[in-house]
Amino acid sequence: MKIDDIKREFPIFDDKIQNNDLVYLDSANSSQKPRVVVDRIYDFYTKEFSNVGRSVHYLAVAATNLYEQTRVSVQKYINAKDKDEIVFTKGATEAINLVANTFGQKYLSEGDEVLLTELEHHSNYVPWHFLRKAKNIKIEFAEINDDGEVTLEAIEKKITKKTKIISVSHLSNVTGAILPIKEIVQLAHSKNIPVLIDGCQGAPHLKLDMQEIDCDFYAISGHKMYGPTGIGVLYAKKKWLEDLPPYQGGGGMINEVKKEGITYGELPNKYEAGTMATAQVIAFNESIKFMEKIGIQNIEKHEKELLDYGLEKLRKNNSVNIIGNPKEKGGVISFTIEDVHPHDIATILDEDGVAIRAGHHCCQILHDKLNLPATARASFGVYNTKDDIDKLDEAINKCKKIFNL
């Protein structure tokens, strides 16, 4: 795999940004888009546009077929058993809200427990908090260890007879820890507890096999997988999608509508109310094909090399403190610089075209635990190179110089 060739697929790198070559180290936030994805959206709107699943004219049928092709591509990409187990949402956030809402409605009542971890992104906490308010359920948090990991034992410790669902991140967007999700699912299933995996950071970087992981639900964000914004996927085992109530009501999700009552549509329509993000779904197919073309094993290998190189480089840089030291880690390096606030770091790095994120990365629970108001974070994608990391290191040195460190 030639990285230079891959980078050329991304138009954002063609031009200078603020007179600098872009060093984009914010892919955990959102990835850049390859030309094939952007072109697909343009082509669909200019040559093929129609709404899907309703009209019988040529364009409508063709658009419906394209839309459904993405479903099959996703099914194959994550090795789901059935294409009806793929539900399109506006993002991973909506996918988690969908599960919390419908599962909560049917299966949670006062005193029941939902088990999360201290690593969770707000999108895998706030939807459950709504249930805490509405139904008086309890939320438990499996603790992180000193390396910023959540172990199987930490999960086991918090499981009680009242635990009704476990919802955990696949890969932490702050420490980069990869959770032992297969083992967590096995353990949970031995106690008849379903598991939701927040796969926002897992899906863009790791090989996925739903049948092997055996989780009940897996939430995917399209825009972190080189795809458009406004598109996500909820993978759910068919038994759950058949069993749980619908999430939103509207056109497309119904079967028969009478004044006396309504019957709902078959899967997956039951969960796709209203006009969906059609162009984005169709373009998302190009993201999947793009990742398949490179090969997820190659992506994993490349990002691991970058991570190892980045960790080595930053560890050598005095006064840089790396957050967490997980044994299994994805391409994320969160760090602080002694006496320099992360927002000052981000502004100074930005001056040289090095785009990182600073803040709590939507993980306030984790930052409270770490006793840090904010951290700086560099995260990698397929287009990054060792040269990007060298530039990060140089920009950090400049920052230290400004602050007389």
Partner: protein, 154 residues
């Protein structure tokens, strides 16, 4: 815009060694402010005497160099001023950070204005404006006896 214009010596100095950091016992007005996106927070304490003059002022909190320096310079600047004057300075400062090129108030001496203008660099960094304004909004809130925690998020 050169980065040096944002991180001037005076900002770095006040950011690293903020003046008036802490809390004093006999304050009679205070307010909290936070900036959840950045994780900056500030708590302003002040004592307004019977003549409506700021007898003492201090702040607690943590945040980036810009927000710390801004709170530090602000507290230095309003000590000894009357409430009415403080409000004029706050409004002049916020106006300068948002749109105006200079400070217009006659209350401040030229060297004081120069000091405050060191914060004008944030104009070029829209995401950082709230870092510079947090303590000022919080000061207003303290003077107005507001119970609301100041939030810079829009």
């Amino acid at each position: 815009m050169d980065l040096k214009d944002l991180y001037q010596e005076i900002i770095l100095d006040h950011g690293k060694n903020p003046r008036n950091l802490g809390k004093f016992d006999n304050y009679n007005k205070d307010a909290k402010g936070n900036n959840p996106l950045c994780g900056d927070n500030v708590h302003v304490y002040l004592r307004l005497n019977e003549n409506k003059k700021v007898e003492d002022i201090a702040f607690e909190g943590h945040g980036c160099a810009i927000s710390m320096a801004s709170a530090s310079i602000m507290t230095d600047m309003v000590r000894g001023k009357e409430e009415k004057e403080v409000k004029e300075i706050v409004s002049d400062f916020l106006g300068m950070i948002k749109e105006k090129d200079s400070l217009e108030t006659n209350i401040l001496k030229d060297d004081e204005k120069t000091k405050l203008m060191s914060l004008s660099g944030v104009k070029q960094y829209p995401m950082r404006v709230k870092c510079a304004t947090l303590s000022w909004h919080t000061l207003t809130s303290a003077l107005d006896n507001s119970d609301q925690i100041v939030k810079t998020e829009e």
